[in-house]
């Protein structure tokens, strides 16, 4: 007979308990919300209520664009539901090439590689290009996909304090001469919605002979004159060796990519395991992505309106007395800092009852153990909707006693 073994799930007991306590307090489960019907990029029926969506990454509102939908339908009809294969075997269709062409044009770069998700793009590129004996110098607040890419590779991992230029330089200075260095930065950090001082950081990284990878997931389509991201806005995109991005935010579907001018970049298709050992994106997805990316090239009016929304919501919330993650509106994300998880969950629920969905973010996803209500705006939110949202925040904040 076998002994009574250890339950491998016992390590999750503290989290199970904490979650049960929240639910016992009568709060709707923030992590089990179901959208029964999606009416537009900014409206859905959530748990039975007509709700304004202020917690999606649908920054440019492309999910219901008629041209994008038509492209997807046509690809479904012409190419079927899926490729059932890897990009390097039977999984590269005309649509995948067209999608990569659209990316090359969007960024003005020589190479583009499409992954099945943004997570896999970071996982694959980072773990593959930085090997044993190389160094990865990265911001401590980097996204989980960046950390997982580090963990999967064999390089030495050296984090520095968030957005701290001096701390980054000190670490670069101490790396043994001759070692390969990859500096990993993000344009917009998604928890607080703050941007990186890329101009200074990239210049320093180059001075120490490092290659630079910038994740522009939360800035694509919105920040920079052509929507290429913070690196474009700061005028240094040509010094960035690898830009990582995703289709699941401004582009409005799912998938990830890396664009680069590195002359040997195409070899990645053979050596990058998260690219090789998974099925490629369905034809309808790459068709919608390509169409959306091409439309985003001409999205300057939408970009201007989204900036306007961001400024009004940021100023309005600050005037109401909420504590925000940034002093100024820096992106389409505005993080409202909650005093603790319990009141954060109460506030989240009060907003949902008002008819507003925001993201509840909690440790370990958040920096400094903060509980955040993360608001992400959409170019399709009307000026009037932003005012409605501010009214909802005011009522909910007073009910919960935060303002």
């Amino acid at each position: 007979m076998m002994d009574q073994g250890t339950d491998l799930f016992s390590k999750f007991d503290p989290l199970i308990q904490q979650r049960q306590q929240l639910l016992d307090a009568g709060i709707e489960d923030p992590f089990s919300l179901v959208m029964e019907k999606v009416l537009s990029p900014t409206r859905a029926i959530c748990n039975g209520r007509d709700t304004i969506l202020l917690g999606t990454y649908n920054y440019m509102g492309m999910t219901f664009d008629p041209d994008v939908i038509d492209a997807g339908k046509q690809a479904l009809t012409d190419f079927g539901t899926g490729t059932t294969g890897s990009r390097v075997l039977n999984g590269t269709y005309q649509g995948h090439k067209e999608c990569e062409d659209a990316l090359k044009e969007f960024y003005g770069m020589d190479h583009a590689m499409v992954f099945s998700t943004g997570y896999q793009a970071n996982l694959g590129i980072i773990s593959t290009i930085a090997g044993k004996g190389d160094y990865i110098v990265l911001d401590i607040d980097s996204h989980a996909s960046i950390w997982d890419g580090c963990a999967m590779g064999k390089a030495e991992i050296v984090p520095f304090k968030h957005n701290d230029i001096e701390a980054m330089e000190k670490r670069l200075k101490r790396i043994p001469e001759g070692a390969g260095i990859l500096v990993v930065l993000e344009g917009v950090y998604s928890m607080l919605g703050d941007v990186a001082p890329l101009k200074e950081m990239v210049a320093i990284a180059k001075r120490y002979g490092a290659m630079v990878l910038v994740d522009e997931a939360h800035s694509m389509g919105f920040i920079g004159e052509n929507g290429r991201g913070v690196a474009e806005a700061e005028g240094i995109i040509n010094d960035v060796d690898f830009v990582i991005g995703t289709f699941s935010k401004s582009v409005g579907t799912v998938g990830g990519f890396c664009v680069s001018n590195h002359p040997k970049f195409e070899i990645m298709r053979l050596v990058c395991r998260p690219y090789v050992f998974t099925a490629s994106l369905p034809p309808s997805v790459v068709a919608t992505a390509a169409t959306s990316i091409r439309k985003l090239m001409h999205g300057s009016n939408k970009r201007a309106h989204l900036w306007e929304n961001s400024r009004i919501l940021h100023g309005g919330l600050r005037n109401l007395g909420f504590q925000l993650g940034t002093d100024t509106p820096q992106s389409a994300i505005i993080a409202v800092i909650m005093p603790d998880l319990e009141r954060g969950a109460m506030m989240w629920e009060a907003l949902l009852k008002e008819g507003l969905y925001v993201n509840l973010a909690r440790p370990p996803a958040t920096p400094a153990n903060m509980t955040l209500l993360r608001c992400s705006l959409c170019a399709e939110h009307s000026a009037q909707e932003v005012q409605t949202i501010l009214g909802m925040f005011e009522r909910a904040g007073k009910i919960v006693g935060i303002i």
Binding site: E156, R174, N369
Partner: protein
């Protein structure tokens, strides 16, 4: 710097992070005895790195659980 000097320097650097005033032994652990969370670890490691002008990569940090191991690691890294 010899081992004794490294040890006394690290003792001084730990002080602001040693909130409970634990008496440090070689076997004192950072996660258990000193109750360091990940943020404290980052700040503490940065202060050691700056003092000795070294890098303690996360790969190396994973091998360091107690005070004695840290002193040995720093002693080795500074050469």
């Amino acid at each position: 710097m010899d081992r004794a000097a490294v040890e006394s320097t690290i003792r001084r650097l730990i002080e602001p992070f040693n909130k409970q005033g634990i008496t440090l032994e070689d076997s004192s652990t950072f996660a258990g005895d000193l109750e360091f969370d990940s943020l404290t670890v980052m700040d503490f490691v940065a202060s050691i790195e700056d003092e000795f002008d070294i890098i303690i990569s996360m790969n190396q940090q994973a091998e360091i659980e107690n005070f004695g191991q840290l002193v040995s690691a720093v002693e080795k890294l500074q050469n």
